[in-house]
């Protein structure tokens, strides 16, 4: 399954993956206003990496991911989710109450829901990727 390297798949994967990743970030950021959001964006990004996995195998994908292990992504995602719980505490509101901050200069609003959504994005991406990669690794070990 892993070795199914055709020219079309290779080329498609190489070109499509960055586009898909870019698209996933776009989906993530616009998610609060238009269809999209952390879950969908995380799945799109996971799809991008999965395509690459099928085209080039696990070790090549690990090279693309560089230092980041998908398991670390899970942890980072959960951590961001937890971090967004606390800011409300400092202004004497119940936990998880959304906080909004204007970023001066550009027309962009930072907020705890955005942090939270990024956390969801990373957790979904990390979880799906970790599952698929582990399965493929094991697959390779046992022909």
């Amino acid at each position: 399954m892993v070795k199914s390297g055709t020219l079309i798949l290779h080329t498609a994967a190489r070109i499509l993956m960055p586009l898909q990743l870019l698209f996933s970030v776009f989906l993530l950021l616009r998610g609060h206003d238009e269809p999209g959001g952390g879950f969908i964006a995380g799945l799109v990004a996971a799809g991008a990496f999965t395509l690459y996995l099928f085209a080039f195998g696990v070790s090549a994908t690990r090279d693309v991911l560089r230092m980041v292990d998908p398991r670390d992504l899970i942890g980072m995602g959960l951590l961001l989710g937890m971090i967004s719980v606390f800011p409300a505490w400092f202004v004497d509101q119940p936990f998880l109450t959304a906080q909004w901050w204007e970023v001066p200069g550009i027309d962009f609003k930072a907020s705890t829901p955005l942090i939270f959504d990024i956390g969801v994005y990373l957790a979904v991406l990390g979880s799906v990727l970790a599952m698929v990669m582990t399965l493929m690794e094991v697959d390779k070990d046992e022909p």
Binding site: H32, D33, V44, L78, K109, S111, A130
Partner: protein, 777 residues
């Protein structure tokens, strides 16, 4: 203050770090915590003596009426002082007793946690917070009894103590809930102010029984006394602290605390005074059968706990003053004696008193401390124990009901206790020198300071009874009685009946001590009878539980998964179908508004699902499931859910990848069922399908609640600054749910990794078991 007390939990968590820094002196460092608290509590004594009640409120969950309120009155202050003062010395003592023990860190963690729980228990005003602390003391006690967990006996005793106290804890919880309902309040101080309402309430009898069960199990009252002597498997500092001075008095504390609200009825007086007196006698009688010094002391603790219960039962003003006095006296001398027992065990290598003798020249300080504490236990003037015993006899003579019985039991217990005191305080130190497994010498200072201070206090308070009497004991007795009283203690009451009883018991007790070896031999003949005591009942009960659970597991957990599922589905069909047909005759409004393309999509969906069930090939099953999934995505998009459509599409793609990766590693579809089974399953599954269809159709006609999504739609932009309402719900309105969900997802991923990667171990196991079929087919 609450935070100061609770910071002990934090300190417990940091104990390993402190061990790294301070090594063997950690005990001393940790002892600063209870010592500081003790000083703070001492500072409150003058105010409380003036009759003040300090209430420290800290809101916790205001919406549930739960708060962490501490109330400091005479009773709780007396307990808090005992806990912190004895706790300080126990920590110092443990530093010597467990010196170099590899698990000393664990000991420190648990004993600190216990200390905080116990303080919380006696200070808490809320019924529920008190209950939480109560259970925490049971758990920490379990961990401490089983401290030497490599020892089977210790584990067994720990489990026994846990089962008995936690079973009582369940009863207590029921009792507290009933108490809360009966009084309409969850605050102890408010409940105590409405005694008449409670005593007249219909729930009085059941709630009292439940509360008493909780208190009696915790405080080792007959017939639940057996766990306490077994708890002596714990290290001696634990026995001195938990199982004589503090935790076992939690039940007594509860009864004393609730006395103003619940006491004084026929039922209260009858049960408490008789059970207390029986416990008192049982403890004293069983004590002299033993030669193990810790068991002797444990049974004499049972005797003391019985005395306290009995005094609460008698309930006259004199009895309650005697209660407070006896409580203090007992904690002082028993704590000291236990620590002496630990010294003897530590220095001689044996716990058997008959193996010790003539140790006084070798360990003069220990001998002196033991002598003072034992004299107080025996109730010899001028020690504090004497005053307590005098008062106890006086109150027994005042008892209204069952006076003769109580008097007889109390007198017998008194002279048996004097024999116990002599066995513990005289026998190891006087007489001819005996060879002990270890050559004894004086204990280190860290182990002597605790018992010495406690023994000196026993002497000091005995000589100047006014010091204790006018001070704390007045406040404590007032809190138990519910109204202010004046306590004046004195050593000399003139020649009266209690004094004569004291003298007679001293004589009898000493005579018994002289003939102890003989009497013990005679009593050994009773052993077969003893083997049928309450502990045998406990064993039989536990055995019964094992047998029943074994039996029901074999019936219910038969291992065939489809049987479980069949039972679940049939139950669902039965229960839901029944109420559906009976309550809502399915009134289905058929106004079908369909478009052609929608029918095509839904038709594809249904066909995909059905084809997946009939196909014989894995590949076509995966394909048809895929078709179903994409049809569902289309349905979502057609019916105004773009986010869902996208998500479904992506997940569907990933699912196919997953199935490709895993499913083709598995065998082909197998046809294993017989045609009869298949028809049966079709009928069951079909009826479930029909039921669901009817349920969905019926549910649309019912509007029981106003949908909450109106609020979400209206406030999405003004409050949450988001125009995609679904996303706003996910990351803002219901973010806590989403947080939980990503945790679930992460757990599933970690589970997958664990199952696939951690497999080194079972490869070896697979080689060990030959390829055969050990399972019946």
């Amino acid at each position: 203050m609450q935070l100061a007390v609770l910071s002990g939990f934090v300190l417990a968590a940091f104990a390993p770090l402190l061990h790294r820094w301070f090594g063997g002196r950690t005990s001393l460092v940790l002892a600063v915590f209870p010592a500081a608290l003790a000083l703070w509590f001492l500072g409150q004594v003058p105010a409380v003596m003036d009759g003040e009640v300090l209430t420290l409120a800290l809101e916790w969950v205001p919406s549930l009426g739960m708060s962490l309120t501490f109330v400091i009155d005479g009773l709780s202050l007396l307990f808090a002082l005992l806990i912190t003062v004895i706790g300080t010395f126990v920590l110092i003592y443990a530093g010597g007793y467990l010196k170099g023990h590899p698990d000393l860190v664990r000991f420190h963690i648990v004993i600190l946690a216990f200390m905080v729980s116990m303080l919380g228990l006696v200070l808490a005003d809320g019924l529920l917070t008190m209950f939480v602390f109560w259970e925490l003391t049971s758990i920490t006690s379990y961990l401490l009894i089983g401290f030497n967990h490599a020892d089977l006996e210790a584990r067994k005793s720990a489990r026994q103590g846990l089962f008995v106290t936690v079973a009582g804890g369940l009863a207590l919880m029921a009792g507290l809930v009933m108490l809360g309902i009966a009084g309409g309040s969850w605050s102890l101080s408010e409940l105590n102010a409405m005694g008449d309402v409670l005593r007249e309430h219909d729930l009085y009898a059941p709630l009292l029984i439940c509360l008493l069960l909780g208190a009696f199990t915790k405080s080792a009252q007959f017939p639940f006394h057996f766990w306490l002597p077994n708890a002596m498997a714990a290290p001696t500092p634990v026995s001195a602290y938990l199982h004589s001075a503090t935790m076992v008095k939690a039940g007594i504390y509860l009864l004393a605390r609730l006395h103003p609200g619940l006491g004084g009825t026929e039922m209260w007086i009858g049960i408490l005074s008789v059970v207390g007196a029986l416990t008192m006698f049982t403890g004293a009688f069983l004590a002299i059968r033993h030669t193990n010094i810790k068991k002797l002391l444990a049974y004499s603790t049972v005797m003391a706990l019985g005395t306290l219960t009995m005094l609460l039962g008698i309930g006259t003003e004199g009895a309650l003053i005697a209660f407070a006095t006896f409580l203090l006296a007992h904690s002082l001398y028993k704590g000291a004696l236990f620590m002496v027992a630990g010294i003897l065990d530590h220095e001689t290598g044996t716990k058997d008193v008959t193996a010790m003798g003539g140790l006084r020249p070798l360990m003069p300080v220990t001998a002196l401390v033991a002598l003072i504490a034992a004299l107080s236990l025996a109730g010899v003037p001028p020690l504090f124990g004497f005053i307590a015993k005098e008062l106890m006899f006086e109150s027994v003579l005042e008892a209204g009901r069952f006076r003769a019985l109580i008097l007889l039991l109390a007198f017998s217990a008194a002279f048996l206790t004097i024999a116990v005191a002599a066995i513990v305080g005289l026998r190891p130190f006087f007489g001819e020198r005996r060879q002990t497994p270890r050559v004894a010498h004086e204990a280190p200072a860290s182990m002597l300071i605790g018992p010495a201070v406690l023994a000196i206090l026993s002497l000091l308070l005995g000589l100047t009874p006014m010091l204790a009497g006018t001070g704390l004991l007045t406040a404590a007795a007032s809190a138990v009685i519910g109204e202010p009283v004046q306590v004046s203690l004195s050593l000399w009451h003139g020649i009266n009946l209690p004094l004569l009883m004291s003298l007679a018991s001293l004589g009898l007790g000493y005579a018994l001590f002289r003939r102890w070896d003989l009497v013990r031999g005679r009593l050994a003949r009773l052993d077969p009878l003893m083997a049928r005591g309450p502990e045998a009942g406990y064993e039989a009960f536990m055995h019964g539980v094992t047998v029943v659970s074994d039996w029901q597991t074999r019936i219910l957990q038969n291992g065939y998964m489809r049987n479980y599922i069949m039972v679940m589905v049939l139950t669902l069909i039965g229960l839901v179908g029944n109420s559906l047909l009976l309550r809502h005759a399915p009134a289905i409004a058929f106004h079908v508004d369909v478009r052609f393309h929608e029918v095509v999509v839904v038709g594809m969906l249904v066909m995909g699902a059905l084809f997946a069930t009939v196909t014989r090939s894995r590949l076509s099953a995966v394909v048809s499931v895929g078709i179903m999934g994409f049809s569902i995505a289309l349905t979502f998009i057609l019916f105004s859910a773009p986010d869902l459509g996208i998500t479904q599409l992506l997940v569907e793609t990933l699912t196919v990848i997953l199935l490709v990766l895993v499913l083709f590693r598995l065998p082909r579809f197998a046809s294993l069922s017989t045609p009869v089974e298949r028809i049966r399953d079709i009928i069951v599954a079909g009826s479930a399908g029909v039921l669901i269809t009817l349920l969905v159709l019926t549910a649309w006609g019912i509007d029981q609640f106003v949908p909450i999504s109106g609020y979400m739609i209206d406030n999405s932009v003004p409050l949450a600054h988001g125009r995609n309402i679904v996303n706003v719900i996910l990351v803002d309105y219901r973010a806590l749910d989403t947080l939980g969900e990503i945790f679930v997802l992460a757990l599933a991923a970690i589970g997958v990794i664990a199952m696939l990667k951690l497999r080194a171990g079972d490869k070896a196991a697979k080689k060990a078991t030959p390829e055969k079929e050990p399972y019946d087919g």
